[in-house]
């Protein structure tokens, strides 16, 4: 497409869109105004109907749970696609070793880096677990906790080196997390149907308000998301980082250099 034509198309698109966007923007409540009506309704109904105190989770996993299941499978699809593309050229054998590419400079890590990673890695993992477990009580949830868990595992790479990290996450466990998490979420939708309720209907006991185990079915959906996100992001990190290494066919037992 010629640049001139492209600019003309852009101008036409802007002319068409601006009135519509302006119309919507003008009808929005002013910046910084008090909570919108939908928020008030959710704030009122959440504790009453679902016994949970984090309304974002109530919306994500219950009131609009169907949307979240869609997002969940989008994430699984994206990660699976990336893994297929990257792992496809390398092969499936987990016994293979990753070695440093010949001629590539190896920069050693400072002792302070190792110290920081050893101190903050476990702390980050712990905080990620806390966040994933307390989805129905405090801000955060399975997604945020899952990304933190994956990031905490990356600190193991920074602190302990590629070899240790790869051995930690390069097994089938993360594959299982990724697929199993999405499976659990789908099952949480389908199981109530077997009992005669609607898809994703919250049929489990709701528990006590402000308790970790409040929210009923939401806890299971949240666990599914936590597993899928931890597995998904870790797989992404691993498959990307493997691109900067060279694969050595082998039994995996031999000593790696770095």
């Amino acid at each position: 497409m010629k640049p001139g034509l492209r600019v003309a198309l852009f101008a036409v698109a802007v002319l068409c869109l601006v009135p519509a966007v302006w119309h919507v923007a003008a009808a929005m409540p002013p910046f910084g105004s008090e909570t919108a009506q939908y928020g008030m309704v959710v704030n009122k109904l959440g504790p009453e109907l679902r016994h949970i105190s984090n309304m974002v989770s109530a919306v994500n996993f219950d009131f609009r749970g169907l949307d979240t299941i869609g997002e969940e499978f989008m994430l699984v699809g994206a990660v699976t696609g990336a893994v297929l593309l990257l792992r496809g050229s390398r092969g499936e054998n987990i016994a293979d070793r990753a070695d440093v590419i010949a001629g590539r400079a190896v920069v050693g890590r400072a002792e302070s880096t190792i110290l920081i990673c050893r101190v903050f890695g476990p702390l980050l993992l712990l905080f990620g677990l806390y966040m994933a477990l307390h989805a129905t009580v405090t801000p955060g949830g399975g997604f945020q906790g899952g990304v933190m868990l994956a990031s905490g595992l990356v600190l193991a790479y920074l602190g302990e080196g590629y070899r240790g990290w790869r051995r930690l996450v390069g097994s089938r466990v993360m594959d299982l997390f990724e697929g199993g998490g999405a499976f659990v979420f789908a099952l949480a939708g389908l199981a109530p149907m077997a009992a005669g309720a609607a898809f994703l209907e919250n049929v489990l006991p709701l528990g006590k308000f402000k308790d970790v185990f409040s929210g009923g079915l939401m806890l299971i959906e949240n666990a599914g998301v936590a597993f899928a996100v931890t597995g998904g992001f870790t797989l992404l990190f691993l498959e990307f980082l493997e691109e900067t290494r060279v694969v050595v066919k082998g039994d995996g037992g031999a000593e790696e250099r770095r």
């Binding site: 910084g32 984090n54 966040m131 990304v147 990307f240 980082l241 691109e243």
Partner: protein
């Protein structure tokens, strides 16, 4: 609008401009991470801790890491 919000909005605009104006890919990745950090603070100040946490984890840690690794992989490929 409080001074805090105004300051954070200006910071967000500056950080975003920084991302656009940095031309060297590696610098751009760090500018992107800085922009993510500013957005995290802004979301937190706007009382959206859930979104702030997501932005912090995805915008300042996960995405920049993947970009950096992709840049490294490209450089390795070119050397071969």
């Amino acid at each position: 609008m409080s001074v805090l919000l105004a300051g954070l909005l200006i910071l967000a605009a500056l950080a975003g401009t920084g991302v656009v104006l940095s031309r060297e890919p590696r610098r751009q990745v760090f500018a992107l991470a800085a922009n993510g950090a500013v957005l995290t603070l802004l979301f937190f100040a706007l009382q959206a801790p859930d979104v702030a946490l997501s932005e912090l984890a995805v915008g300042t840690a996960a995405t920049p890491l993947l970009f950096l690794v992709a840049l490294a992989a490209m450089r390795i490929d070119r050397q071969r």
